[in-house]
Symmetry: C2
Subunit: 259 residues, 2 copies
C-alpha cells in the first residue's frame, strides 16, 4: 500500500525546531515533503503575495534517515501551500500539517495565525489539514512530549477523514514535571488582546511604535480551548473557513435595508 | 446630540479613491477620523506587525468641508485599527467602516481580505464594523452609485446595533447602465481559487513566480453572496470571528483520541 503523502509547513520558518520535530513525527507515518517560509512569518494571518514575486528553492536541511524533500519559499505560509499544491508536489497530499508553532494559536489567536492560515489554505483546497502549536514561545521549547498525541491525531484524521470545510487547530500546553491529561475537543474561547503601543523616538528623531499587548480571556466556559489548556489538556478545535454568522441572518433581515 | 464617531480605514492605502468616497459618505452621518495604511495592503489577510516598528503620521488629504482628521500608518489594516483605538482616537468610535475596496471580497476572498481584517479587528474590540467592497478592481471605479446603499447600511447598523461577535461584509456589484435591485442578506458562497503560478527567469538567471489564479465557484445556492452579486444585488454577509465549526465537535469526539 502506498504511504500517505504528508505536506509539512509552518510560519516560524523552515529551520525552526518545531517544524523539525513535526517532520520527524510525520516520517513515522508517511512520505514527507516540506514547503515552508525561508524566514519567520508570525502574525501574518492569511496574507498572500499578490504584488510581489515569489522565490522557491530546494534545500537540504535534515540528513537523518535518508533526508527529506524540502523547499524553502520567500512567501507567506498560505503562499507555501499554494505553491506546494500547484507547482512542487507530484500528487495531491493526503494531509497537510502546519507547525509545530512556537507559541499558542488558541482562542482569538487563530485569526492572526500564520500556522493556521497554512492549514486553512489546504482545507480550502479540499485537503485534510491540521495546525499544531505549543504554548511556549522559546526557540528551544520541548517538542518531544507532544509527539505521541500529534501522531495519534494525524493517524485518526487520515483514518476517519475530515468533516467538509473543517480543519483542526491543535494547541498543546507547556507542561513541566507532569503529563497531559488527554486531548479535548473544544470551541474557540472568546478573548481579545488589550493592546499597548510602546511609543519611542528613533535616533533620527522620528516617533515610532512597538505593538505589545495582554491577552484578555472573556469566556468562563469549560468547553473552550483556553479551559482545556489551563487544565493540562491538549485542545483540538474544529475550525471552519465559512465565516458566515448564519444565526445572525434572520436578525439582520429585520433591518430596514429597502427603500 | 453628539454625532457618532466613525473610524474609516481600508487596505488599498489612504489615498485610494474608494476610501475618499467612503469618507465623503460618512461625513454626512457623523464625525470622521481616518487611520489607513500609507501603502496598498491588498491580500494581507489578518496580518499584524509583530517583529517590526510602526510609523504613523497626521496627514492632510481632503480639504473639502473643513478637512478631515487623518493618520497614515506604515502597518497593515489590522494594525491601523489597533493603533486608532489605542493611541489616536480620543474616544471609542461608534462604528468602524473599511473600504470601499477596489475589488470583490465576496465568498472565500473574505479570508484573504485586508479590508475585512480591519473590520474584524474592530469587531473583536466590540465595535460595530462593516467592510465595503466594489467588484471593480480599477483605480477609477465608479463609487458614486453605491453611496445611498452604503449610508443606509451604516445608519441601520448605528440604529439597530450589531449582533455580538458579528461584522458585516458588504459587496457591491459593478453595474453599468442599470440599477441595483436592492440589498440581500446572504451567506458566504463556497468557492476557491485555482492557482496558477507564472514561472519566469530573472535577468540574474534566478527562477521566480507570480501568483495568478481563477476564481472557482463551487456553490449553486441562491442564498449566497455570489448569487446576489450575479443578480445585481448588493450582498451583505454577517461574518463572525469565532471560527469554531460547532457542528463538527460531535463528529470529532467519535475519533479515537484517547489511549
Amino acid at each position: 500500500m502506498e504511504k500517505p503523502l504528508i505536506l509539512v509547513t509552518n510560519d516560524d520558518g523552515i529551520t525552526a525546531p518545531g517544524l523539525r520535530a513535526l517532520v520527524r513525527y510525520m516520517k513515522e507515518i508517511g512520505d514527507v515533503v516540506v514547503v515552508a517560509p525561508d524566514s519567520p512569518q508570525s502574525g501574518m494571518g492569511h496574507a498572500i503575495t499578490l504584488d510581489n514575486t515569489l522565490y522557491s528553492k530546494k534545500v537540504t536541511i535534515d540528513t537523518e534517515n535518508g533526508g527529506t524533500e524540502e523547499y524553502s519559499c520567500s512567501g507567506t505560509p498560505a503562499d507555501c501551500v499554494k505553491l506546494a499544491l500547484q507547482e512542487l508536489l507530484d500528487r495531491k497530499p493526503d494531509i497537510c500539517v502546519s507547525g509545530i508553532n512556537h507559541g499558542s494559536n488558541s482562542s482569538i489567536n487563530v485569526i492572526y495565525s500564520g500556522t493556521m492560515s497554512a492549514a486553512i489554505e489546504a482545507g480550502i483546497e479540499g485537503i485534510p489539514a491540521i495546525g499544531f502549536s505549543l504554548c511556549d514561545f522559546s526557540w528551544d521549547a520541548n517538542f518531544e512530549k507532544a509527539g505521541d498525541a500529534i501522531k495519534r491525531i494525524v493517524r485518526e484524521a487520515l483514518d476517519k477523514g475530515m468533516p467538509q470545510g473543517v480543519v483542526l487547530n491543535v494547541n498543546i500546553p507547556k507542561l513541566e514535571g507532569k503529563e497531559y491529561r488527554g486531548i479535548k475537543v473544544s470551541r474557540q474561547a472568546r478573548a481579545n488582546w488589550k493592546e499597548k503601543f510602546d511609543k519611542r523616538i528613533s535616533p533620527m528623531g522620528k516617533e515610532y511604535y512597538w505593538l505589545t499587548g495582554e491577552f484578555e480571556l472573556l469566556d468562563k466556559g469549560e468547553d473552550t480551548d483556553e479551559w482545556a489548556l489551563a487544565n493540562d489538556y491538549i485542545s483540538l478545535v474544529p475550525t471552519q473557513f465559512d465565516l458566515t454568522a448564519h444565526h445572525a441572518i434572520q436578525n439582520i433581515n429585520n433591518w430596514n435595508l429597502h427603500e
